[in-house]
């Protein structure tokens, strides 16, 4: 039973809950500057979808004490750029009073995150492209996790784990060393230790090596020990993968 229907069954017409929202803060330094809205307009046009009807909090913290300007007109001009001022923070007393009078909510000061990078992120050549707010940084991590590259020899007793990614070793892997990767494993020196690809169960993972002298090879838990590898593949460039669920080896064409 979902929580929504639980609520409906109760005899209360509402529920009060705390929640937090991410909002942009528009820091206002010089509201009377003739360039204020032209420059803000330029910024907004860089990512129209991102800014369209976005709630903003006006930050008056950095306004000089003596500033005099028409807050009502200011808010109207911000709205004209399709930004929705919903609250304000800081500022001299007269400005605060004027802000309350036009219906803005005084916000407790929060911890500001820099938006500048996010604003730059959309490609200027495609201004209409969908530009998610905080998503870009998160997406980058999910879509592309950098491959783990090891350039030093992997010595006996060492264990290298490429979590959720591929592993590339450009030198040799000694007997008694262990390579683990959730993705593929590439070894450009001699592979003399153990190599376990698809360590978390990816059956599409493969092992590629320049000279196969391994103790143990495994893809997604299907393994073969060196006794079973066979002399046809010994010291050859080989790829190891699952063919219909069976660990298979193919010679790689080199040169």
């Amino acid at each position: 039973m979902s929580s929504a229907s639980q609520v409906a069954e109760r005899d209360v017409p509402f529920q009060l809950r705390g929640n937090s929202f991410t909002m942009m803060v528009l820091k206002v330094f010089a509201p009377t500057s003739p360039n204020f809205f032209t420059q803000l307009n330029v910024k907004v046009r860089q990512a129209p979808n991102f800014f369209h009807n976005a709630p903003v909090v006006l930050d008056f913290d950095d306004l000089p004490e003596s500033v005099v300007f028409d807050l009502g007109a200011f808010v109207a001009q911000v709205q004209a750029l399709h930004l929705l001022p919903v609250g304000f923070q800081g500022g001299p007393q007269p400005v605060r009073e004027a802000a309350m009078a036009v219906g803005l909510t005084p916000m407790p000061s929060g911890r500001a995150a820099k938006l500048e990078e996010v604003v730059k992120a959309p490609d200027p050549r495609q201004p209409d492209q969908q530009a998610p707010i905080a998503a870009p940084q998160v997406l980058i991590e999910v879509v592309h996790r950098p491959t783990l590259v090891v350039t030093e020899p992997v010595r006996s007793g060492m264990r290298v784990y490429a979590e959720k990614t591929d592993l590339i070793v450009t030198s040799s892997v000694s007997p008694g060393a262990e390579l683990l990767a959730d993705g593929n494993i590439h070894v450009y020196g001699a592979l003399r230790g153990r190599a376990l690809a698809g360590f978390s169960g990816d059956t599409n993972a493969r092992i590629f090596c320049h000279s196969l002298e391994a103790e143990v090879l495994s893809v997604a838990g299907n393994y073969r020990v060196s006794e079973d590898i066979g002399s046809d593949f010994y010291k050859k460039a080989v790829q190891v993968f699952l063919r219909d669920g069976v660990l298979s080896m193919d010679l790689l064409k080199t040169g």
Binding site: R155, S156, G157, S174, P175, G176, A190, R192
Partner: protein, 271 residues
């Protein structure tokens, strides 16, 4: 500023103490003020190989614990100028080695000495870790057989991850291979690994190849570093290795079987 060298191998019985004694003596012979420290607490051997076992009063552990001053524990070699031995305790164990204590002693020694040579115990536990932790340079002693090579590989990994230089992200410890007990005839018969086989796995520069020689055991038993035996192949090979360590360009010898004429048969018997 003195240089700290560790003589290590992982595996036991490959010739660390013999090599430490020979190497320290070789450095001192070339005029460098050198001290060799026994890190094999509880299995004190270096003093025997150096022939100073009857002069040990205080030891390394006494100095670490503040029970003796460093110059009370240091033993000056009677044969070679500039050569000192810091023996270890036979009655304590490796837990007596603290990082702070070892550092304190090494700092004090580095004021006076050009080279500090640490003779590591076998294994990869506390004794070995303490002996290699402060090293600037490591000499890996390996026999031409698979288990020794694998253990050397392991200790190289330890050097790369658990030495002070590794932990502090400084220039890595430089590493060189000393291949000991090498018997070219058995290598030719396929009973021992070739130099190249060992180098292929360990992938570090070759400092020297010390041939299997009866002179080594003989020298140990009389408490004389084998490098002082100037007619033995082993002594000459150690001398070459010290020269290479100091940057001299010396060709490797004793890596191929010698031609057996009557003359060389006679010579070999006496060597």
């Amino acid at each position: 500023m003195s240089k700290i060298i560790v003589m290590t191998s992982g595996k036991g019985g490959v010739g660390k103490t013999t090599s430490s004694a020979a190497f320290a003596t070789g450095l001192a012979l070339r005029g460098f003020k050198t001290v060799v420290i026994d890190f094999d607490v509880g299995l004190r051997n270096l003093d025997l190989v150096m022939g100073c076992e009857r002069r040990v009063v205080f030891d390394f552990i006494n100095v670490i614990n503040g029970e003796a001053k460093l110059n009370q524990a240091l033993i000056k070699d009677k044969r070679i100028e500039n050569l000192y031995i810091l023996p270890t305790s036979q009655t304590r164990d490796k837990d007596a080695l603290t990082r702070e204590g070892v550092e304190k002693v090494l700092n004090e020694l580095s004021k006076d000495f050009d080279y500090i040579l640490c003779d590591s115990p076998a294994g990869i536990e506390r004794g070995a870790l303490m002996s290699l932790y402060f090293a600037d340079h490591a000499i890996i002693v390996t026999n031409p057989e698979v288990s020794s090579v694998r253990d050397s590989d392991r200790i190289l990994g330890v050097l790369n991850s658990r030495s002070r230089r590794a932990e502090q992200g400084l220039e890595p410890v430089t590493q060189q291979l000393l291949l000991t007990r090498y018997d070219p005839e058995r290598v030719e018969k396929g009973e021992m690994l070739k130099v190249d086989d060992v180098l292929e796995i360990l992938a570090i520069p070759l400092l020297g190849v010390i041939p299997e020689s009866q002179a080594v055991l003989r020298a140990s038993n009389v408490g004389m570093p084998v490098i002082l035996d100037e007619v033995s192949n082993a002594g000459l090979a150690y001398s070459d290795a010290v020269g290479r360590f100091l940057g001299e360009d010396i060709e490797h010898r004793f890596v191929t079987p010698q031609k057996k004429g009557l003359f060389s048969r006679l010579l070999r018997r006496s060597a």
